[in-house]
Structures are given as C-alpha cells and as structure tokens.
Amino acid sequence: MKPDLSIDIAGIKMKNPITVASGTFGYGPEYADLVDLNELGAITVKGISREPWDGNSLPRIAEVFGGMVNAIGLQNPGVEGFCEKYLPFLRNYDLPVIVNIWGKTVVDYAETARMLSDHEGIDALEVNISCPNIKEGGISFGTVPESSAEVISAVRKVTKLPIIPKLSPNVSDIKVFAKVAEEEGADAISLINTIPAMVIDIDKRRPFLANVTGGLSGPAIHPVAVKMVWEAASVVDIPVIAMGGAVDAKTVIEFLLAGATAVALGTINFRNPLTITEVVKGIENYMVKNDFESVDQIKMNF
C-alpha cells in the first residue's frame, strides 16, 4: 500500500512534509523552471517586513566547511511589494504559502502580520524572532523569553492566520522558548534559524562578510538542529517544523524521528533544488520499508 505522506500543520494541509527554508527559495518564481512547485508540501518565502528593506552590503555570503555563512540582511520588497509581485504567481499552484515575517520592533511585527492577513492566498505566518531588537540594543528578540513572548503575543492578537514562531538556536535551553511560543498561542513552531558565525579573510586581515558576522547554515549544523528539534518537540503539543542542514532523505528522516511534523530544506537548494523530489521519494521508501502508513508514525518512541 502506498503510504500517506500528507500532514496537517495548524490546519494547513500539506501533501507531504517537505517545505523550504525561508530565504533559500526566494518567493516562488525563482526555482519554478527547475522544480515543479506542486511537489512541495508548502512553500515558505523569504522574510518580509512592513516596508521594503535593502539588507546588508556585499559580500553577503561565505562558503565554509559543511555550509555557508550568510548575512543577506533580510533584503525584501516589503508587504505590498510581495503581495503585488509574488502572491498572484503563487496562487497558480496547489501549494500552501507560508510567509516569513520579521521586524525591528514589536509594532513592526504586528503591523506586518496585520497587513498580510488582509491578503488572499496566505496560509500561515512564520515569525522570525531571531532579528535584532532595536529597542533592546540589538539583542535578538529570540534569545530573551520575555521579548519572544511579546512578539508572538502581539502577532497573535492581529491575525487569525496560523502563526509559526521561528526559534533561534542561539539560546542555552530551547525548551524554554518552545514553551513560550506555545503559551502565547502559536499554532506551530519552526527551528532552527542559522547559528551566529564569522569568517575572517586571512589575506585581507578583516572579516570576510561586509556585515562582519553572519549565520551558519548547511549540513554542518544538522546535529545541533536535531538535538534542538528533539528537545522542543518533547515539551510542546503543537507541531514542529524542523530545519537546519537537512540535505537528503536520511537527514530529513532524522528530524521526523526527533519529533518534527514537517521539514524544510534550506541551503541544499543552492546546490541542488531537485533534492526536494528525491527527499519526498526517500521518505516514501522509508515508510514502505518500515510499514508506516502515515507520517506521524515515524516519530521515535524514546
């Protein structure tokens, strides 16, 4: 019997547990020539803010062993730009759309969420709380439980869309933040964002990235992400979307065993966007081999 790969996250029906990580797949059209977007369980678009935002100077990326360090700086066309330019395109597909949002103040977050909620064709908001909190002197919202709570509850108040706070890995105990998210009314959580990192150009004797520091992504961070997903999933009842170094069926299945309901492919898209298809097939094979009829049976009993 063909296993059933479909899942439900906070009312979003996904035909399989695979989505893409925000910022690694653009807004939809970019990869549409190479990948049949209908093969995705859902698409998660690059982070959107209230107003258009230019991001950082170049260089914005550096390759490192097992991944890359990026400091794109959240460049995006803003809510209106996104809704005009990309939403109509996305509506042509049979594809839940998760919009990743960010802000520099709590009001920014809420306002972005509110504005997006007025548009057709958005299925959920992923709330990136790993941004620097301008008011608090640049410390990330996502590393202080109270600030996380404030952002999530502000967004919760202004939208009926499912909200998915995206947790920062840059904390001592991810369980605290997973619970905060659940308590503040999140419908799901996603993790992990990139890990703060830095690359130095030894010839030029200065930081390689214009932004000095950036975030590490790719296979290098997978074992760290698996641990955090496992811990987070163990303390909340809402579903978990896992990401961080997933590159093939094996690394994706580790996340599912750890307790994730869905998994996002990120940096690997730059290497090979067709991984999406391979992974969906790989999960199916794994389910057949292990006699699983539905994705939720994969989770390990541990």
Partner: protein, 262 residues
Amino acid sequence: MDIEKVIVEEHEYVGNDYSVLKFKAPIVAGVASPGQFIHLLIPRLEGSILRRPFSIYKVEGEFIYILYKAVGRGTKVLMEVRVGDKLSVMGPLGNDFPVCNEDEFPVFIAGGFGVAPLSFLAKTLPVKGHLFVGGASNCDILCIDDFEAVDCKISIATVDGSVGEQGFVTKPFMTWYKEFGKKCKPVIYSCGPDAMLRAVGEFAVANDIKCYLSLDKHMGCGIGACLACVQKVYDAEGTIVQKRVCKDGPIFSAESIVWEEE
C-alpha cells in the same frame, strides 16, 4: 534553464593556471547565448556545498566550453577533473549581451578570463569589432585566436609589458577611442576585474558610449533566490534599486550601475 549531468570531453591546461574544460551538455548548449553563465558543482571538493559560476566560453553543437583560472580551493580541485567524469551543471543562467546594430562598432574590453564570454559574443555579432585585452603578463592574454578567426582587430596591454603595450588595457583603448571613437558608433562589451569594469564603465558614461558590463559577484543560488549577489542600479525612473547579478544580470548597461565606495 536546467540541471544537467554532463560528461567531460576534454580538459586542457593552457598555462598560468588557466584551463579549458569541454563537456557534453546538449540541453544547456541548445539554448545558451553569449554572456550567460553556468553554475557548476565541482566534484570532490571537500566540505563544499555551493556551486561555482563560470561564463560560457564556447558552444559547439552539444558541447559547452568554459575557460577558467585556478584562483581558489574550488577551481584548484576542478583542475583534477578527468575526461569521462560526470559533472552537474545548472544553466544557462542570467541574461545575455544585447546585440549591436549593423551600423555600430563592437569594442570588446577584456581582462584575464573575462575574455571568455566576449569571445563567444564576438562570433555571434553581425559586425567585426576590436578587442582590447589586458592582463598582468603575457600568460594572461588568452583567446587571441578566437578573435582573429572572426577578423577582429586586436590590441593588447600587460602590466609587466611582456606583450603589447605596458599598462592597463584601458590605455590602448583610450588611445584608439581618441582617434576612431567618434567616427564609428562604438558599443563597448566588457568583462574582467571590478576595477577595470569601473574604469571602462565610467569612461563610457562620461563619453556617452553604449556600454555593457558583465559583473562578477559571489553567488549562492545563481538563480535569483538568495540575494547574495545584488548590485545597486538606477531603474528606468532613475530610482536606485538592487538587482540580482545572477538573474537580472550578469550584463548591465554601464549607465545603470551605481558605483559605490570601496
């Protein structure tokens, strides 16, 4: 645009860290235009995740050539690729050089491996042109044959003076421009190091010459998704916007570019 498993047909070292790689890539070859590039997965590159961009140097039937210089970890490992190896190629990517009119005169200004896409272009233009090519030394002067074959005029400059004029390639170009530039409706096509592109671009704008530059930025996706490779440009209304070199470029008209302080 596609991702193709291609087979290495020839791999020739042409001196001073430059090599030419020829592979069979029917799908990409079928649609490639001059100025476009491929995004290549270098095999056996330890710990590496990202592809590397290379301009398309030649298309012959189902075959594609790239001309590359070993400058870093990836390109050094690329040199070890053997005939028969399979590579993963994404392409063709980016936009292409606008074709000049028959009454215009194409001027190619190239530095180092920047000559590669210009060689491809020279073959497809309706008129013969003039190549100005520069490099550090005589070993950096490449593809002269290609331009001779299409009856281009050729001027060479090297920093060490080992061949051609001594100095930057902009020198012989300026000399030429003073004498002939006003008479022949030149269209500049340029590819090479940033400093050269900027010098060429600013000269072209100042002198009102049509000019297309092929930019080089570090790339992640190569396809417009990651925003690693943006360049500030003036849009049609004169507003400064950020364009993606991989997707909206790599070719930009010189007057659109917003040059920034280093």
